[in-house]
């Protein structure tokens, strides 16, 4: 198929090249430890502000029961179409509270092209950037990108202050090693490729909605 010796030749050239040391401009030693972003004081407050800035909608609810009502309300306002949901005990519980519409669960396979809305949980929420961290465990790769609307059911206790904390959590829970896909989602799909004018909903969801419960029970 291809010359396997290419690998050896490339690595050989790289090793030979690196024998000559490159100049290294050492900066102020404080640089390596000082924080780059100001510490996040109030994570929930910051998360909401950042969502407003990056055009993520959010609904704050008391608990899972009120989250369920909030999701039902969002769905009622959407056009008819297939609903795809991550198969998890929490989502099974809240979606069983109303059974008016057919739901396709992630345990049955990939979300179909015609999905109108996808509903998932998340690994974490990041206050600093107003982002939602998902992995393939949250209903798969397509669950957060194929439909025009993506609803995330989350809890306030899932908010981490910043990206360093998010990566610490990824390491702690071994998320990168246990999933083939991880995505930090910040706002809904957009493009500014035409005259730098911002247009929402390029190829991914036009709307990203976080239903955020004070208590996830």
């Amino acid at each position: 198929m291809a010359p396997p010796e290419a690998r050896e030749r490339i690595l050989g050239r790289v090793r030979a090249a690196l024998k000559a040391p490159a100049p290294h401009h050492v900066g102020d030693p404080v640089t390596l430890h000082a924080s780059i972003f100001a510490p996040v004081e109030n994570p929930l407050d910051r998360f909401q502000k950042e969502c407003a800035a990056n055009i993520t909608e959010w609904v704050l609810t008391k608990n899972l029961r009120t989250s369920s009502a909030a999701v039902a309300e969002i769905l009622a306002a959407l056009p008819e179409g297939e609903i795809f949901a991550q198969d998890s005990p929490a989502l099974r519980a809240i979606l069983s509270l109303w059974q008016s519409r057919m739901i396709r669960w992630s345990s049955e396979g990939a979300p179909p092209e015609a999905s109108q809305v996808t509903i998932t949980q998340c690994e974490a929420l990041v206050a600093l950037t107003g982002s939602v961290l998902v992995s393939s465990a949250c209903g798969g790769r397509g669950a957060s990108v194929v439909a025009p609307v993506h609803i995330v059911v989350a809890g306030v206790n899932q908010i981490v202050p910043d990206l360093d904390a998010a990566f610490a959590l990824i390491r702690e829970r071994n998320i990168a090693m246990q999933n083939s896909y991880v995505c930090l989602i910040t706002g809904s799909s957009r493009t500014a490729d035409i005259e730098k004018i911002l247009v929402m909903g390029a190829h991914g969801p036009q709307r990203l909605i976080v239903v955020l419960a004070q208590r996830l029970e």
Partner: protein, 474 residues
Amino acid sequence: MSSPAQEFFRSAVEKSADLAHRQIIRKGIDSYNVTFERTRNRYVDWQRARQRLYEIKWDAINHLDRYLEEFERNVIARGGKVFWAENSEQACRYIADVALTNGVKKIVKSKSMVTEEIHLAGAFEKLGIPLIETDLGEYIVWLRHEPPYHIVTPAMHLTRTQIAELFQEKIGDIHTDDPEQLVAAARRALRRDFFSADMGISGANFLIADSGMIALTTNEGNGRLCTSVPRIHIAVAGIEKILPRLDQLALFWPMLATSGTGQAISCYSTLVGGPRRPGEPDGPEEFHVVLVDNGRSELLADAEKRDILHCIRCGACLNACPVFRTVGGHTYGTTYPGPIGSVLTPHLRGREFDHLSFASSLCGACTEVCPVKIDLHHRLLENRRDAVNPGAHHGGAHRGLERFAFAIFRSAALGSGRFAFFGGVARFALRLLYAVGLRGTALDPGRVWNKNHAAPAIPSKSFRTLWKDRHGAS
């Protein structure tokens, strides 16, 4: 056929006089500058952040062999395949072989500069397998059979009217130049392709050594669809894209976004590692990473210029460059335009791109904005030095004349009497030349300026005489 240098000069003259082109570029870059400045305030200390990125990339590039092997081991452990390509031909052949072996009928592709560099589209055109660009900007220039104009915003040079006309011709049924409608039209057209393609090709913004994952930054979501829906995913990346550790993205993701588009972070910062795992609802059956050398290991051997390989392709130096803004991205005739293209291309494609390092005022704006602190304008200077060194070929006749002119200048500049004398001769000769109507002709030393500008008046007195008149002799 003319040389790249002649072509560059011809196009630069044409584009710098094209006021409509300059206006659209200025509009695009102005709007970038506004958001960039606003977002930069989110960082406690931007300079500190740049230094941190520099340190990380320095470590990555100066231990490249070790990190590449670690990356390869981890990709294989995830069930992926790694292919090492020494040049464009090997990379294209491998990707084509994977497509042919699997009976691939249609390919969707997300934005990737390295696939432009290796001319992947040409390889599939020969095979007759459709390869569809899905990033909106790339899609637009692809429909126009043009290369991308800018690393980050490929269709920066087009107005919405031009794009509307293009869509009307290629997609049909478009009667508006409203950007929202145009985006919706592209979305509808490409949607069918995402779900009917057998193969997705992406680039990689970073290759994460300790995790065996590739990091992909996109806003539209096309990159996510390309890597989620088709049954085969191939990621193509230059070997210099390595990052040692996953958690270093906590800084690289925001810095890449801020430098690239002025965003705090891009919409989709994605990590892909391997094919679909057992128990996962979707994802491709095969995951390949093609590591492209294509001249990079030779550049690595140049320790002085090694930091060119730190580049994360954010495009900030293009936006900051007065030359790029004036002559435009296509004038460079290279995959990578702007300052980074000028320093990189002679190393990737040879000496016939030496002229690009001379097309600079050395103002240093590129160095100042580079998020990984590449000393770009010094790299330009070193490229110039290497271009004129004995043994380097660089327009022979031109150099003779240049040497002669500098010999005269040297002799004039070394003695104040000689300087005054030559100055007087030059003023007299110019006045005489212009008096007999030779302004702008081949004999006019100022003809390049005078062709497009009003000529300044020739002073009657030299600076030294003026000084004496006003301050008295010292």
